[in-house]
Symmetry: C2
Subunit: 604 residues, 2 copies
């Protein structure tokens, strides 16, 4: 049960095995793109927390005021999880404060050093379950495997030496047989399946690089990975309190022996990032300190580190209800990409508990096929592409053009290159890195912008790339209720943040302050500041109360290490005997005798 050691390439470090970026990319699938080193990205702590295995017990309040943090990628490590075989990346991020004026060229795309061929297949029950082999799709065999000599042999076969993500080499017998003939992996496959604990639904990725060296990677099928914005608001409302221990972190007590230690990866897409590591990263980020994030590329998971360009593009769209958007979804075997369309039903800051003024998942979308994209009821603007908007016909040109040509609301600032919420009395202020209280934000420099500063804090939202910006205006109690480039009615009370999906608590939080958004300021790009309210962009016809289908505050329904992992038991060590010696004593008829039942049996 050990791959041929002589062929081993890399040792397997404890943290994870380093991978070539192109192999990593192939394992992750084409739909995941890691921003290149030195590129500018936005980091979204909310999104990061969605990836955590459990709700952080404590989050520094500071981070709620920095839901969007512009960073530069200082380093990337392409890694593979030694337990689950999944690939992940570790990004070192350096927050860019407004006065840190580095201006790297934005897209230093590393030249793809080596083109690799890859093919992913979702394992069928036949591939994974019984002792048998692996049905190799013809296309895979012909593009990835060395050709067989069909002319000389009836059933040509060869042994493939394939390197896994840890550098271990696995030998698989590749044979072309059966009637009708087909490609199969036989000997060695079963060992691989057992070793990697593959089950039907998992995918394998077969690759070959330009030197014909072959690789194999794994993508785990996920079950019940449904931590979405709903969970997030619950999560956030636990701030400062002691959250109840989420299912995912509960030890499966009552399990026997040391069996619980085996196969230590969860299939629900969580359990990878600890709550603490996420909370720490978010806190460092909020303090503009360098930090690291670990990112598992997973279908259905929203990136929390996004190329600055993409985010800024999305910001330039005057999101309104009624817009038609599409979202690309890759099938799990990454063989197809499907575009799903939907209609924006609400485009305001979602009520994320304590998260104020975050564009994260600010769009609520009714998908045309609601059964898919369950996780994507709320999406972030950069996740979708505009198909058309319900705007007047004069705006009906392509989304790409609209980015540049449309007229937005916004407040010009005298600064360019600022990230969101750049320097509103946060760590670079005289208060430095002290633990901020909410009221600290009242000390924001007055008169920072030309707009009216009603009561408390002002945040600048500028968009370096294109130069549009917006004014965010806080409420009386220092809870900033900024606005993004969101179309809003001039009526004071129909903001979607009052939608009935609010939990009672957060609702009162939100409303109790100042009765919501005070006013919106609308400015033409590049124009002097104007004060006043304009309805702009799209029609204001959105219902804004559409979110009724959200589960109202339920707990996350998943549990790690769920039972049913029978396919993992085959190689389990002590304590994981499958019900063991119960059918024994063939000639013995069980007669119970006190605590130790004594079964006397007829001898032969």
């Amino acid at each position: 049960m050990r791959p041929s050691k002589s062929r081993q390439v890399h040792p397997a470090p404890v943290q994870g095995s380093h991978l070539a970026p192109n192999i990593w990319q192939a394992c992750a699938g084409g739909s995941f793109r890691i921003p290149p080193v030195h590129s500018r990205v936005y980091y979204f702590p909310q999104g990061h927390i969605e990836h955590a295995s459990s709700a952080p017990l404590y989050l520094n309040p500071l981070i709620f005021y920095k839901p969007v943090i512009l960073c530069r990628v200082s380093a990337i490590e392409f890694l593979a999880d030694p337990d689950s075989e999944e690939v992940f990346a570790k990004l070192s991020l350096l927050p860019l404060s407004d006065h840190s004026s580095d201006h790297f060229p934005d897209s230093l795309e590393a030249p793809d050093d080596d083109k690799i061929m890859s093919f992913a297949k979702v394992l069928t029950p036949s591939d994974a379950n019984n002792g048998g082999g692996f049905s190799v799709p013809r296309y895979c065999a012909e593009t990835i495997f060395p050709p067989l000599d069909f002319s000389k042999f009836d059933r040509p076969n060869q042994v493939l030496h394939v390197t896994d993500v840890h550098g271990n080499v696995w030998d698989f017998r590749h044979i072309y047989r059966g009637t009708p003939r087909r490609h199969l992996l036989t000997t060695g496959w079963s060992k691989y399946v057992n070793s990697k604990k593959l089950v039907a639904g998992d995918s394998v990725v077969l690759m070959k690089d330009s030197s014909e060296k072959m690789f194999i990677g794994v993508r785990r099928a996920m079950r019940s990975a449904k931590l979405t914005a709903v969970d997030c608001s619950i999560l956030s409302s636990q701030l400062g309190g002691v959250g109840n221990k989420p299912e995912g972190e509960r030890q499966q007590e009552g399990h026997v022996g040391s069996g619980g230690k085996e196969g230590g990866f969860s299939r629900n897409g969580k359990g990878k990032l600890s709550a603490k590591e996420v909370a720490d990263a978010a806190e460092l980020a909020a303090q503009e300190m360098p930090f690291e994030v670990v990112y598992y590329p997973r279908v259905g998971w929203t990136d929390f580190v996004v190329k600055a360009e993409d985010v800024e593009k999305a910001w330039n769209v005057p999101w309104t209800a009624g817009m038609r958007v599409k979202k690309a979804v890759e099938t799990e075997d990454s063989s197809r990409i499907t575009w799903f369309q939907g209609t924006v039903s609400s485009a305001s800051f979602p009520d994320n508990g304590l998260w104020r003024s975050s564009p994260w998942r600010m769009l609520q979308v009714m998908w045309d096929e609601p059964e898919v994209l369950q996780n994507a009821k709320r999406v972030s603007p950069w996740e979708v592409e505009l198909v058309s908007s319900a705007l007047p016909p004069d705006t009906a040109f392509s989304p790409a053009k609209r980015f540049r040509a449309a007229h937005y609301c916004g407040v010009a600032t005298d600064r360019e290159g600022d990230p969101f919420f750049s320097n509103a009395g946060l760590p670079n202020s005289p208060m430095g890195h002290s633990n901020p209280s909410l009221l600290n934000y009242n000390t924001v420099p007055a008169g920072m912008q030309g707009a009216r500063q009603d009561l408390s804090s002002v945040l600048s939202l500028s968009n370096s790339g294109i130069g549009n910006s917006h004014l965010y205006i806080g409420n009386t109690f220092g809870n900033m209720v900024p606005m993004m480039r969101t179309s809003m009615s001039t009526e004071p009370n129909i903001d979607s943040s009052q939608s009935n999906s609010l939990s009672p608590e957060s609702q009162s939080n939100w409303q109790g302050a100042t009765g919501l958004v005070l006013f919106g300021t609308i400015i033409r790009s590049g124009q002097p500041v104007e004060s006043g309210s304009h309805a702009l962009g799209g029609t204001a016809d959105e219902g804004s109360n559409e979110s009724g289908s959200h589960a109202p505050g339920g707990t996350a329904d998943e549990g790690s290490n769920e039972s049913g992992s029978h396919a993992l038991g085959g190689t389990a060590d002590e304590g994981s005997n499958e019900s063991g010696s119960h059918a024994l004593g063939g000639t013995a008829d069980e007669g119970s005798n006190g605590r130790n039942e004594t079964e006397e049996g007829v001898g032969q």
Copy 2:
């Protein structure tokens, strides 16, 4: 591969499973006695460090000045290791400072709540290796198992339900068959062996309590557990420096996949206590703070927490070279106890590097059968029993009587109940818990004892139980060179601490100070203090340079996770395939083709 879950008794906590004391005792074996709760014990940090998996990288210098610490046992937990199945105890110890005047009754032996029967057997290759069963010694079957009905059945059999140390129940078929007839465990046994990773040489302990409930425990055979005083001196010489990473802590890099995580217990008797945990405990102890120690009962290992009574008894013996001693050694299956005899060749403070004036392993013994007891070249006085001494005939009564009747050297103090080295300017002094430097000890209260205080520090050595005490006199540089009740020549330079087993470094340490021990003071028990030197007790004929057979400063030769653990591989998960698919491709003749060899084979 899972014991019947319905019968499970306790869940298995991560730290270890709690056990009934009597079951624990049976599993550990009769030769290991845990001091009862509330009893007085001496804690020997040197002995503790011998149990550590690796040399601590740093030891607080403080602890070298407290090699013997009187404590009270405040709590005991009887536990079982979830990995190795071995039992161990966690003792909570409260150092007794001289002014803490608690006087519990010393021996509050907990009444043995339940008598249990136990039988231990070392597994033969037949028991452990092949798929077969377990040969049950007749005595075991008759005393532990419920009786079979031999009258009615030709081959009577029953199923035994046996609880392991974690509370899991295992079913074993017990059958009486074969010609000649014998007791065997068949079905279920193999699962147990594989699950617990038992190999020939390991022992199982079968037990039954008064209610006939049966239990099974494991004692691991040890291989290459030879950390003795030699290692300790090496160890100590690393003080303050960065020790080279010992074999036992090196990760077995280059090993494949996640296979390294499996079966995580070492068979060499180490790897249980981390260096850090030992160092922390020793430091706390030296600071007279409550601390915890974990103790694995292992044949051949010397207890580092010893009943005060035993230690004090031993202290009352005027140890001299030439004395005949015996030491009880239990066979691994605890079926026999053998007494080995030997002659004390040196009875002075061994040179333990930085350990000054420690009675730990102060006796050097030439055993009559030198091949056994390799670990016991140096023993602590309480480990052996006196057989006879080379004293004049008038002292030739029994050792027990000699304890009380012999005449000792010593200095009476005005304090009773002091532990060794009780309060010589150590943590309770005004310097408090600051990190002490060696020279701090020059500030010891002057005139503390009636004896001459030559240059620097004075430590009191009093013996609460019997009232004998000794004067310890340090050297100029604050390195205390106290003396115990050791016979020494009045010649100044033949102390065994100058033996050629010294490393050059420690030798210079030792000698450079003041030219060794200054003088000895001899006192009659219970008598007023006399000042002066007496040769006492045994003849001073010892060579004192006998330690030539010690390996001179070599490194510890053991390595955890050594290879050869093939018997563990059977249930290993990924990455531990045994050389796997190499003999495959029956019809394929291996032809190498660049990096991926392509073996074309004849089809059928």
